[in-house]
Subunit: 235 residues, 2 copies
């Protein structure tokens, strides 16, 4: 294993930095626990609202995600109206019917038996969007990798999801929905794209495993299979 | 505010689900703390390795990210060799020079004064890649939104980042690098794309604010500016 070379001398910027280091054992355990027990929730308890202060904390967590060039390119559209949600759910149903055709008959039946969204029965929906419209000047870090803006919004989704889990609130990400329907329904301007359509509410339960693992749709991949040491793709 | 309608009757799947609910106050605080104090780190302490067991925990956290259709489409290429990292840093330098041209002179000088990566002096680099190659069957949830695979890998990045922060380990995401250079250097097969090139190691410090905020590059956006209530884009 090669040694890292010496870094440049500390610069003036660092003088205002704050040393904090590793979290205490209990706090560290809580971080791993929230990561391990977060679930994609599709079954929500009826008639329970998410309190405004709780929702605010969760959105604040999303807003503290990393972003390329400190662009903070995310926006959160809150969808509460049930009629609007029904229309969005209609798009889910159409997309699901189309996707079902891609599976052979036995898998198709299983696919169609799975509950894949809680759009209408969640307390509310949150669409995390990314604003790709030109700004006054270039965004630092996006010249070689313009996708970094979308990726920043995804980090915000994950922060939101983890904070919600810690609060006992379930989140489900619905990707089986037409982006064009979301754009129209949410009146997104040109250049603003939906990244994640989330159902948010009180879960009936947090499963001990991801649903698709539990019902045998796909197995969990061994971690070792995903690690390529020595700086090169292994297989 | 509209009321959510009743959910469908609980199904058999739910019988094995586990009720867990909200975290205790201390654990909840730890989750918000890790989200609030995570930083993009570019200054690393010299000559300190990240212990293997710690690195493993952090990669395990990444591997527990949500993924569309439980596809777990991420891979982690660990880059330790300093010569290889120098070549990747050369790409950073070229991209930075190119990006600098996009700023007017005063901002350009400021841009060039910023430390934007710790590729060589971090303990190691981790490239989070996404495997987009066709699998045996369709991936549930990707028909209407194929981008969901890349977005899953981004959620893995955020998990990795938060777990590292709790461990006192710094992570910096370098988007100022050519994806084609990464593909070649890391021998990624066709259909596997680099999503995030991360510098990982012992930070000199965790700043109290993001560096780009601290040095006045850009301000933090008010959260209220990012929230659109009533199901429609506000401005």
């Amino acid at each position: 294993m090669a040694r890292a070379e010496r870094p440049p001398a500390a610069d003036a910027e660092l003088l205002v930095a704050q040393e904090q280091g590793a979290f205490a054992e209990d706090a560290r355990r809580a971080v791993y626990e929230v990561i391990r027990t977060r679930r994609d929730v599709r079954h929500f308890a009826p008639g329970r609202e998410v309190p405004d202060d709780l929702l605010r904390r969760v959105l604040e967590a999303a807003h503290h995600a990393p972003s390329v060039g400190f662009s903070q390119p995310w926006d959160f559209v809150l969808v509460r109206d049930v009629e609007q949600r029904r229309r969005i759910r209609d798009s889910f149903l159409a997309c699901r019917a189309r996707e079902a055709e891609r599976f052979p008959p036995e898998r198709r039946a299983k696919y169609l038996s799975l509950r894949l969204e809680g759009i209408v029965d969640a307390s509310l929906n949150v669409c995390v969007a990314v604003d790709l419209r030109p700004t006054g000047e270039a965004i630092l870090g996006t010249t070689a990798q313009p996708e970094a803006l979308r990726f920043s919004a995804c980090c915000a989704v994950q922060n939101l999801w983890l904070a919600a889990r810690a609060e006992g609130i379930g989140v489900g990400w619905v990707s089986i929905v037409e982006p064009t329907v979301l754009r129209t329904e949410l009146a997104l301007p040109d250049g603003v794209e939906p990244i994640a359509y989330l159902c948010v509410g009180h879960p009936i339960a947090f499963r001990s495993q991801p649903m698709l693992e539990e019902v045998g749709w796909l197995p969990r991949r061994p971690l070792d299979d995903a690690i390529h040491d020595d700086g090169r793709w292994r297989r």
